[in-house]
Symmetry: C2
Subunit: 393 residues, 2 copies
Amino acid sequence: MHSLLTIKTISTGQDNMNLKAFTSFSELSIAELDAHQQAGGKIAGVYCIYAPNELIRAAGIVPVSLCGKKQQPIKDAERDLPASLCPLIKSSYGYAITDSCPFFSFSDILIAETTCDGKKKMYELMGKIKPMHLMHLPHTQQGSAPLQYWRDGLEELKQFLTDCSGIEVKEEVLHQQIVLQNKIRHELYNLSLLAADKRSPLTARDMLAVQESKSFTVYPEKYLAQLICLHTELEEHLQEEGLPERNGIRLLLTGCPVGIGSDKVIQIAEELGARVVCMENCSGLKGMTMPVTETGDPYLALAERYLQIPCSCMTPNPNRAKSIKEMVKAFEVDAILDMTWLGCHTYNAESTTLQRTIEEETGLPFLHIETDYSESDEGQLRTRIEALIELAE
Amino acid sequence: MHSLLTIKTISTGQDNMNLKAFTSFSELSIAELDAHQQAGGKIAGVYCIYAPNELIRAAGIVPVSLCGKKQQPIKDAERDLPASLCPLIKSSYGYAITDSCPFFSFSDILIAETTCDGKKKMYELMGKIKPMHLMHLPHTQQGSAPLQYWRDGLEELKQFLTDCSGIEVKEEVLHQQIVLQNKIRHELYNLSLLAADKRSPLTARDMLAVQESKSFTVYPEKYLAQLICLHTELEEHLQEEGLPERNGIRLLLTGCPVGIGSDKVIQIAEELGARVVCMENCSGLKGMTMPVTETGDPYLALAERYLQIPCSCMTPNPNRAKSIKEMVKAFEVDAILDMTWLGCHTYNAESTTLQRTIEEETGLPFLHIETDYSESDEGQLRTRIEALIELAE
């Protein structure tokens, strides 16, 4: 596997500082979070892309993603939670009760959401550790009543945020945050498209680091600037002559979120010579494809946009297949890998129908795998992913 | 095990026709359902006690419980659904796709609800077979917004019901149904209390048949009359002198619903000499303890009552521990058996906290078991339930 750093060092003799910044973003952000808190600023721990960044920041609070991507704290979580819950929930809870996640320690408040049964019940326990606000998601994206219910919920969240920071949310500030987050989403999507170029030296794990860094960003303007910088550098790089092409099968990864630490399927796919060119999951581009309307009632605009996230918690969830089909075209995808965590009922139950729709409408091979954070099934995963790659060849 | 039939035959020389009527209620109702449908009446298949009987009947529609309590159709369901879903969901779906449930065949419409992730996603598939209305439950019983959302949902259900039957729901008729269902709930609770008398010959499986019959009732007035008749007969019976007492440990069963066919834990407990004196689950008394307010806006009254059902889909769910503690007193309970189906995240996740609360506040031993519809774990269940009984002795 190449990294932009190596390629650039070879081709231009320069270090790629931008990518370095992304790959160690979460560590770098700790100093900034500390300074923010020392200066009296507040920090909100979040677990999910339904948490509206714009609103949190408009209340002067920095949203930060909490740990939940490693196997290690799961055994502690299982003292309180059933083993049948997904590893993401158990890992998140394990980090919280053992106080082993620095971002959890920093958090003044937690923002939770009713995306699934397991999380919903786990948050009851976690809410005893830190002040928590539970966002009540409707189960559907259709109709005016759920939208209004969700919009009113955002006003409740605003009140919780203001109670925490003492900062009233001004519409003008909220509008600025909406414009800024729209720019970031737009830039991230465009950068991802460029990174999927056959001659791009960026790996899926590089892009995962870039995307994940969004969740540890104390200063979003700085993050946007870094994205633009990487984009420019990559664009310049791709203009160079004689760059080698990467000819592996182009995979789209969908399903449950993955992150640095819970990315074994990406690693296996890449080791097998395939290339994960895009991730249609909430750690990937799922949260990047829709802008928030910049005019009118900002709460309604936020409610509309966030409610349209194609999460399997929605019933029905037609936007997911639509979003995958769009990415299949845009990223020239050869096969679909649907990875779900064991115990994630909504994504697992959605898989059969999704597979039928995608195979029928795109003709692409589709593989659904259920796995967890352990290493025990790596051999089996390797065999199955290899078979998918052979089918796509 | 005694049955009232045997005892009565011995003690009074009369057959107990009332209990017989309950134990074969679902079979007997088929003829009545057929006649209702032949006369142009409509039938709604329901899966859950959140479906408001009163409203369905006020639209001239008979609500009937659909099959989902046997192992047999599960293998068919697993063609479309993940094996990790609970047996109740897979069994229900299996019956539907194989058209092997007479009540499903009778149903003109289905009424579904967002009680859990698995059901929610399963209903997407089932909704392709019959016209379905999905009731959107809020995730909490607290605050005015969820209540209003749920109330408005009942108005939507009313419209769906009227579209099916062509019968407009009149407030007067709805009020009559509310009064009638209140009487049934009240009578059922009182009968259950009496049936838990130490000298009562009724077993838990007898009472399960009585309670379950409510869901197959074409004519609720007739069902109420049968309840009253059984109550009177039992009361008279208990006035006889020299009746033997049943001295086994008195168990309260909580957790997921059980039914005739999925009642192996009741059977095992009774075989071990214990007595399940009450069931705090939605196939038991959970749905019988609260009346609907009989004055004011009937939709709000229904919304208030149904939203207070202490289901683990609610977060938090304080009413469940409260309800258990009340039943512990009323039914003189010695130990708690919390039975959950494998894959039921909400009940499984609630178990640890519930156990701590119940043990602390009642001092009673508490056993949580996770099982499914298969017979494979009966030996292990027997050992664990035996240990609970020994603890309670």
